[in-house]
Amino acid sequence: MTQKDTSVATYPARTAPQERAKRNNLPRYLSYAGMLAVMLVIGIPLYWMVIASLKTNAEIYTIPPSWIPLEPTLANYPAAWQAAPFGQYYLNSIFITVVGTAIKVFFAVTSAYALVFLRFPGKQYIFLILLAALMIPPEITIVPNYITIARIGWVNTYQGILVAGIATAYGTFLLRQYFSTMPREIIEAAKVDGANHLQILVLIVLPIAQPALVTMALITVVYIWNDFLWPLIVTNSAAMRTLPIGIFWLLDQEGVTNWGVVMAGTVFVIAPIVLIFIWAQKYIVEGIAAGAVKE
């Protein structure tokens, strides 16, 4: 209680301009120092990867290591491209990511549209079944799913990599939230004008939902591109591996003795996502924050 009184008493002092400036600046500098520390902790490992990929082998294996490459070279990149079939990995990763994202977005759009705008007996239970699928972590399904995929004969195929994770509850949920906030009058007006559901979906709902669609698509791209466990299990030849599996094998072969080449390979894996992230970080970050806070 006494503390309260004294601090109230000091209030007038705060209005004196010089006093105020002196008091407020120290925490500000500390905050900037904190921000710098965060940048360094996150940035240095990534910086380390990039400069190692630009160093000669001799330089990598000198102690102490250099913070700026003494004789920068790009030689590790072609070397990595040859040490593992990165061309094929890229092809596989891009194909799976593009097709997988397209199908997932399609499923999310159609399911969400149906759940919001179409009549069906007991559809709230259907929504619950879809939603509850979120509670089943894909990791625990690997053995049964491998058996299923093997029975269909899809081991080591694109469809085998894709199909097990292609259904979408997260996307359906996200878009359903978004669709249900749309003004009903627009939809009703379109119906009165004789528009059918396909027209309403394509011409009215999708354009309005564009931000949510972009967010969902971007998050899906990142997820499929980085997926590791399932492609590791379901592929068994270099011809079918995706980039994350490829970099794992490259580390296995070349690691420790050839860090420059391995780091160049790592740049191959993360560069596309870094570019996407720089370009679309607002969509991704805000999409994720909105999803969680809405609850």
């Binding site: 309260k4 380390w48 259907i126 990791e139 790592t266």
Partner: protein, 314 residues
């Protein structure tokens, strides 16, 4: 909901009403089915069916190849629960999850509070701190394997600068787990920063102003305004972070392979190992069942709590 016909006393739609409804709406029902059932069917095959199948597998002896699948009752459970390795693995999972959770939440909150001020460049820092969550776990694990290299790695250089010898991080039974936790927290704390920041924004400025008028200092405001305001977020993040850490696989596979001597073997890694290294479908089934029960319980607790907090506060 509005289209539900008047129910009969049993609460079920009368057959006649149903039939007229069908006659009127069958086109819409058909479209609904076309739109939803593929998604639903795939969930059935690749999410719900595996739950039952895991349960079934946990009672059989099978190596994925043999034609005959042997029913062995509870023998797989006995085998798994009587091996000391399983308890080591449970312990490792607990250590990994709890430490990741504590560090992710504390660092996430600290950074979020830092970035919640009006500082120049805070959006850049927010993007940078979040960026590792977007990157391939396998690639991150490869980078950190290099950083942890006891001779040529970055950490040995930094430790040498301070005058400390570098531990053999990934080949030491003591240091391998801390190394994994460091990488995991480094990669994932950005997510909690984003969520905390969003949560901080929902706390009304009026509360802070009121506290200031009452003479509360920064610490008092943090304890009495910020923390209570963040309670639902903290709970959401706790469960999400723990659930996610149970699923950490890529960094373990790449950095340690569960070793040395099982020091970093966790439930999910053990499941992979039993299934796809020793081809023991039965024991893999047991581990999958155990893992599912743990994670399911956590999710149910989360839903329960969220319901309560929603009804309680509004």
């Amino acid at each position: 909901m509005a289209a539900v016909p008047t129910p009969n006393p049993n609460g079920l739609p009368q057959p006649a009403a149903w039939r007229t409804r069908f006659r009127r709406e069958w086109r819409e029902w058909l479209l609904f089915a076309l739109f939803v059932f593929p998604n639903l069917f795939l969930f059935g095959v690749f999410n719900y069916w595996p739950l039952l199948y895991n349960f079934y597998l946990s009672f059989v002896d099978w190596n994925f190849i043999r034609a005959d699948i042997l029913w062995v009752g509870f023998r797989n459970y006995q085998r798994v629960f009587s091996s000391t390795k399983f308890y080591e693995i449970l312990w490792n999972t607990l250590v990994f999850s709890v430490s990741s959770f504590i560090f992710t939440l504390i660092l996430g909150l600290a950074i979020a509070l830092l970035l919640n001020q009006r500082l120049q460049g805070r959006n850049l820092v927010r993007a940078v701190v979040f960026s590792p969550t977007m990157l391939s776990g396998a690639a991150i694990a490869v980078i950190w394997t290099y950083i942890f290299d006891p001779r040529y790695g970055l950490l040995s250089e930094i430790l040498g600068f301070v005058g400390l010898p570098s531990p053999n991080w990934l080949t030491s039974t003591f240091w391998a787990m801390p190394a994994l936790i460091i990488v995991y927290v480094w990669k994932n704390m950005g997510y909690s920063v984003i969520i905390f920041l969003a949560g901080l924004q929902t706390i009304s400025k009026d509360l802070y102003d009121a506290a200031r008028v009452d003479g509360a200092n920064a610490w008092d405001r943090f304890v009495h305004v910020t923390l209570p305001g963040l309670r639902p977020i903290v709970f959401f993040l706790s469960v999400t972070t723990i659930l996610q850490s149970f699923q950490a696989f890529d960094i373990i596979r790449v950095m340690t392979g569960g070793g040395p001597a099982n020091a970093t073997n966790t439930l999910i890694y053990h499941l992979y190992e039993l299934g796809f290294v020793s081809f023991n479908a039965g024991q893999a089934g047991v581990v999958a069942v155990v893992l599912f029960i743990i994670m399911f319980t956590l999710t149910v607790i989360q839903f329960r709590f969220m319901d309560q907090s929603e009804h309680g506060e509004r």
